[in-house]
């Protein structure tokens, strides 16, 4: 007699022991979670400092637009890296997610750079 359970079982995770090493959620100990919370607070402080720096740099260089743009974007990128890396835990994320994001960034770059190059090197120039 066919045992439906045996056929179902392959769809269920089977281990000989508990605590297999997947990151996030299930098997982090309370100490690990509390350690992560401390990291979040440090990152928060860093983000606060960088925000103040953004505005400070602006007033320092104002109104030299080009320098301001470059420095502000660099600082924003660092802040973005911190939010994405730690709050969104991208630094410890899975390959599938990285793959999707790398693809997205490539297309994002196309979208930023190509339309604005529309008139570069016009015919007859």
């Amino acid at each position: 007699m066919t045992d439906p359970i045996a056929a179902v079982e392959p769809a269920v995770d089977v281990h000989e022991h508990a605590g297999a090493g997947d990151s996030q959620a299930h098997h982090h100990s309370p100490e690990q979670i509390r350690a992560e919370m401390r990291v979040y607070l440090i990152v928060f402080a860093g983000l606060g400092v960088l925000t103040a720096a953004t505005v400070g740099v602006f007033y320092l260089f104002h109104p030299a637009v080009h320098t301001a743009i470059i420095i502000a974007l660099i600082i924003a990128s660092v802040k973005g890296f911190l939010v994405a890396g730690y709050f969104m835990h991208l630094l410890s994320e899975k390959k599938v997610i990285y793959g999707v994001l790398v693809l997205t960034v490539i297309f994002f770059i196309f979208l930023m750079t190509l339309p604005v190059s529309h008139h570069a090197n016009p015919f007859g120039s």
Partner: protein, 209 residues
């Protein structure tokens, strides 16, 4: 698979694998992958608006400077508030992982409060601009400013609604499936961090350049 949920009567809801527990080879549960895909599409959405900004600005004869009339102080305060709300939501998720629903709810509420303060500040900003005769149709800088911050604001509002749901009727899930509830907060938190991330770029680009 919770045998007791089915035995309790009512309709047997279809069991979707890896809804709560990660699939071994990808290491992800379904909603985690789903929200990252959605965020990828959001990158393209805001990216299109940034691209529009670049195209319009580089092609413009004259382009007003945001810092000449926009309220930088209020926007800076808003930036701090939004970053604070990002911290509160990730702390909420951490407390839920520790099994502490009460603290989780406190931090989620803090997130919602920060978000509402952000929106109120934005309302002040907008009404100030309108009172000075600066509307989207006045020039293209204001057009893109209102469109981008407006769309961003709608995203904040969406997040607020989701968190209110999880504080309210959605909280019933904690009693039966705490892991699933925690995952939902994690996923909502990822969305929230993205909204914060967009603002981190919007703020200097619109206000300081």
């Amino acid at each position: 698979m919770d045998a007791h949920a089915h035995a309790a009567g009512g309709h047997a809801e279809l069991e979707i694998p890896f809804n709560v527990d990660p699939r071994p080879d990808t290491g992800l549960y379904n909603a985690k992958l789903g929200i990252w895909l959605f965020l990828a599409s959001e990158v393209m959405l805001f990216g299109a608006l940034f691209s529009s900004l670049i195209l319009l600005r580089t092609g413009a004869d004259s382009w007003p400077r945001g810092y000449e009339f926009l309220n930088i102080k209020l926007a800076t305060l808003n930036t701090f508030i939004l970053i604070l709300s990002s911290v509160t939501v990730v702390l909420a998720w951490s407390h839920l992982r520790l099994g502490n629903l009460k603290k989780g709810r406190i931090y989620i509420s803090a997130t919602v409060i920060c978000a509402l303060i952000f929106l109120v500040n934005k309302a002040f900003e907008y009404s100030h601009e309108f009172s000075e005769g600066r509307f989207p149709k006045t020039n293209n800088f204001l057009a893109i400013y209102f469109t981008m911050t407006g769309l961003h604001g709608l995203h904040i509002l969406g997040g607020v609604i989701v968190f209110l749901y999880f504080l309210g009727p959605g909280a019933k899930m904690w009693a039966k499936e705490p892991q699933r509830y925690t995952n939902r907060i994690e996923v909502a938190g990822l969305y929230w961090h993205f909204v914060d991330l967009v603002w981190i770029f919007l703020f200097p680009i619109l206000y300081l350049m």
